[in-house]
């Protein structure tokens, strides 16, 4: 394959230039490319930085903000093509595989074996942290997308229990409508539409159907009657949005729930940060629960630090960083701020709030029961080209540009064309 040859050439050049520059000098620094520049995340990353500085390793920050990592990936392309890879790069899902295929990433096998990563990291995450059995990345966190966030007051006024099925969800949303608030806050951007859609796929069809239709992109499943039901539910859910949902950012939709203008929002666990920053208490001022019908299953996405191939002189610092990422203290410090849960399942949950504790317990449970699957909307189920093909159909259907019949016809076609 040509791409591999090019990559090997690039990697070879990188190695040669690094070897020439650092053959003798021990390089005690790490260069980290990431997009965690917002207040809380940046503070959490500082924990990692201080840990490394205590070991005498200098941290060279290379933040590239914006585009949910898109800009960072563009910067990375330039660096790798120029043969000057950073030490570690924050990365998501299939991006990791794409870069691993190019043969430009490092090898963490010895460290992983020594620290026993295999036993503590869920297998579904290891699918991304390892390539061909070789450890290439250290996972920082696990986010999950199948959450529903409910305004506490609206929920009290409704008076029912937490909805356990889509029918119960509709009952609750109808009650919110009667209260005179927007029942469901939503941001009309393709990834948000698809986040909701993947929740509905899981709620309607269960984990096996999710894997069949989304992870395996089976054309029969994509145009099946179950999928028709999914699209019908999407149409019904869209009836609970306010008319102005188009183009809205997710945090503005969260703000509607926080301020009581809306009853509920379907969003991943990063939404919790918005609620906490507004000084709301989980379980009282707002409810966090699994999206109705998806209890027991977890759709995840995970930020990982991918270690790139660096010269021998810089390897010790790189391994020290990988070890520091997996350090339970860092995993706790980072994830309590970020709203996600630690990537290792052997960590004590005392520092976490109610939602965090629930998330950690459910992640461990889902990992044990094999009901943990990668999120489509967040790059953990399909490579970018196929993922965006799903986005196109889902968002056009939700915005009423195409009918359910057309969506069922187009979905397998669009995915076949993108593969």
């Amino acid at each position: 394959m040509t791409i591999r040859m090019i990559a090997k050439l690039a990697a070879g050049t990188a190695l040669a230039s690094l070897a020439a520059g650092h053959a003798i000098a021990q390089d005690n620094s790490v260069e980290v490319l990431h997009w965690w520049t917002a207040g809380g995340e940046a503070a959490a990353l500082n924990v990692l930085k201080e840990n490394l500085e205590a070991q005498g390793i200098t941290w060279n920050d290379m933040p590239v903000a914006g585009g949910a990592g898109g800009n960072a990936m563009t910067a990375l392309r330039a660096r790798v093509t120029a043969g000057d890879s950073p030490t570690a790069v924050q990365m998501l899902g299939f991006d990791i595989r794409d870069w691993a295929e190019l043969g430009v990433v490092g090898n963490l096998n010895d460290l992983a074996e020594e620290e026993g990563w295999e036993a503590v990291i869920p297998a579904a995450l290891q699918d991304f942290s390892r390539y061909d059995g070789q450890w290439i990345a250290a996972p920082v966190n696990v986010h999950s997308t199948n959450w529903l966030w409910i305004n506490g007051d609206a929920f009290q006024a409704y008076g029912g229990g937490e909805p356990q099925s889509l029918d119960e969800l509709y009952a609750m949303l109808d009650a919110f409508e009667e209260q005179g608030i927007t029942p469901l806050a939503h941001g009309g951007q393709a990834w948000q539409d698809t986040t909701m859609w993947e929740n509905v796929v899981l709620a309607v069809g269960g984990i096996d159907f999710y894997r069949d239709a989304i992870i395996d992109a089976n054309a029969d499943a994509l145009s099946s009657d179950t999928m028709r039901e999914v699209f019908d539910h999407m149409t019904r859910l869209a009836g609970y949005f306010d008319p102005n949902f188009s183009g809205r950012d997710w945090n503005l939709a969260s703000a509607m729930v926080i301020e009581g203008d809306a009853g509920a929002q379907q969003m991943g666990d990063w939404a919790k940060g918005e609620f906490l920053r507004a000084d709301l208490t989980p379980g009282e001022d707002f409810m966090c629960m699994r999206f109705p019908g998806t209890q027991g299953n977890v759709l995840f996405n995970s930020d990982q630090f991918v270690m790139f191939e660096v010269g021998e002189g810089a390897r010790d610092a790189q391994l020290a960083m990988a070890s520091a990422v997996m350090d339970p203290a860092f995993q706790v410090a980072f994830n309590t701020v970020k709203g996600s849960v630690p990537a290792r399942t052997d960590i004590d949950d005392t520092e976490f709030d109610a939602c965090g504790k629930q998330g950690m317990a459910e992640l461990a449970e889902a990992a044990a029961n094999d009901t943990l699957a990668g999120s489509l909307a967040h790059g953990h189920a399909q490579p970018a080209a196929v993922q965006e093909a799903f986005f196109d159909v889902v968002t056009q259907h939700l915005n009423g540009q195409i009918s359910t019949d057309e969506a069922l016809e187009r979905l397998p076609q669009a995915i076949a064309a993108a593969q």
Binding site: T2, I3, I6, A7, G70, T74, R77, T81, D98, L102, G188, Q189, A190, D242, P243, N244, F245, S246, G247, P383, A384, A385, E388, D392, T395, Q396, L398, N399, G400, Q401, R410, A414, A417, A418
Partner: protein, 306 residues
């Protein structure tokens, strides 16, 4: 671009070194920028053309596969949407910019008081970046924030203006914002054209008893032909490459209702890992621009030769 500078007098046999250096000076001065343009503009155009015939995905691959990516491009519903939107946006944008620009220029040309104040006001939107224009209009047109809400608060509760969030009408909001931005600039072009018209012709027509309307229709507007041509050229290439305005205003949505070739090109090349299809769309856009520019340059050059 011409680099050859013909010496006006034949070089004498014993020309001094300084004379010879002077003859070469323009070439030497222009050479770096010429080389840079050759490489960074035309070189990369050729590179994009080459990539469009490969199967490149996340990074460039150099193995040729023929017209595969063009077939894929034209089978994408997104691309058809982008072309359709460009046709709507381009034609309305050019038409309304020229119509409004001409009207404003004619009104400003009536020797009115305060022209010095009004002219910069109309020109000012051009000084804003498209991102600013897009964001401002996004807030203004958003039914929950802007015009519709303001009207409701003033008591006109039946007022409805929700084009921004309607899949059928969203592309027209891009036209509105684009026209607002560029019509002042077109006005300046027409104003310059109007000021260049010989006053004697108009006086002669007035003496012959022509009405103001027919003076404009039969004399002034036909004389503005070069200004029309320049306006169409400038506006049409702005329409084809228009990207930031759409991104700021609608983000290509609702759904993909405001997808344009430029947003298509960016997303396929850089976020969808389909670099070859993205390159193919860039080549199609280049051909679109060329289809406008080549006849224009041809007619301009032919006229100059006459």
């Amino acid at each position: 671009m011409t680099l050859t500078v013909e010496p006006s007098t034949p070089v004498r046999r014993h020309a001094s070194l300084a004379d010879r250096a002077r003859a070469f000076l323009p070439k030497i001065v222009l050479a770096p920028s010429f080389a840079l343009i050759l490489f960074f503009v035309y070189g990369f155009i050729l590179w994009t053309l080459y990539l469009s015939f490969t199967n490149s995905r996340i990074l460039p691959i150099y193995e040729l596969v023929g017209f595969d990516s063009y077939v894929r491009l034209w089978s994408q519903p997104n691309w058809h949407m982008a072309i359709k939107n460009l046709a709507i946006f381009g034609s309305l944008y050019i038409f309304f910019c020229i119509a409004l620009g001409l009207l404003l220029a004619i009104l400003l040309d009536q020797r009115i008081r305060g022209e010095g104040v009004l002219r910069p006001i109309f020109l000012y939107p051009m000084a804003l970046s498209f991102i600013v224009t897009g964001t401002a209009w996004k807030w203004f047109l958003n039914p929950g924030l802007g015009l519709e809400r303001a009207m409701h608060q003033l008591g006109w509760t039946s007022f409805k203006f929700d084009w921004l969030i309607s899949t059928d009408m969203a592309i027209y909001t891009v036209v509105i914002a684009g026209v607002w931005q560029a019509s002042g600039f077109v006005m300046a072009m027409f104003l310059a054209g109007l000021r260049g018209i010989d006053g004697e012709i108009i006086k002669a027509a007035q003496i012959d008893g022509a009405s103001t309307f027919s003076i404009y229709r039969r004399i002034i507007i036909p004389l503005l032909r070069p200004a029309f041509l320049s306006a169409v050229i400038v506006l049409s290439h702005m329409a084809i490459k228009s990207y930031d305005l759409v991104i700021a205003l609608t983000g290509g949505g609702p759904g993909n209702a405001t997808e344009l070739p430029s947003t298509f090109m960016y997303s396929y090349t850089f976020t969808r890992s389909q670099m070859a299809v993205g390159s193919a769309s860039a080549v199609m856009m280049l051909m679109g621009v060329a289809a406008i520019m080549i006849p224009y340059l041809y007619s301009e050059l032919r006229e100059r030769e006459k």
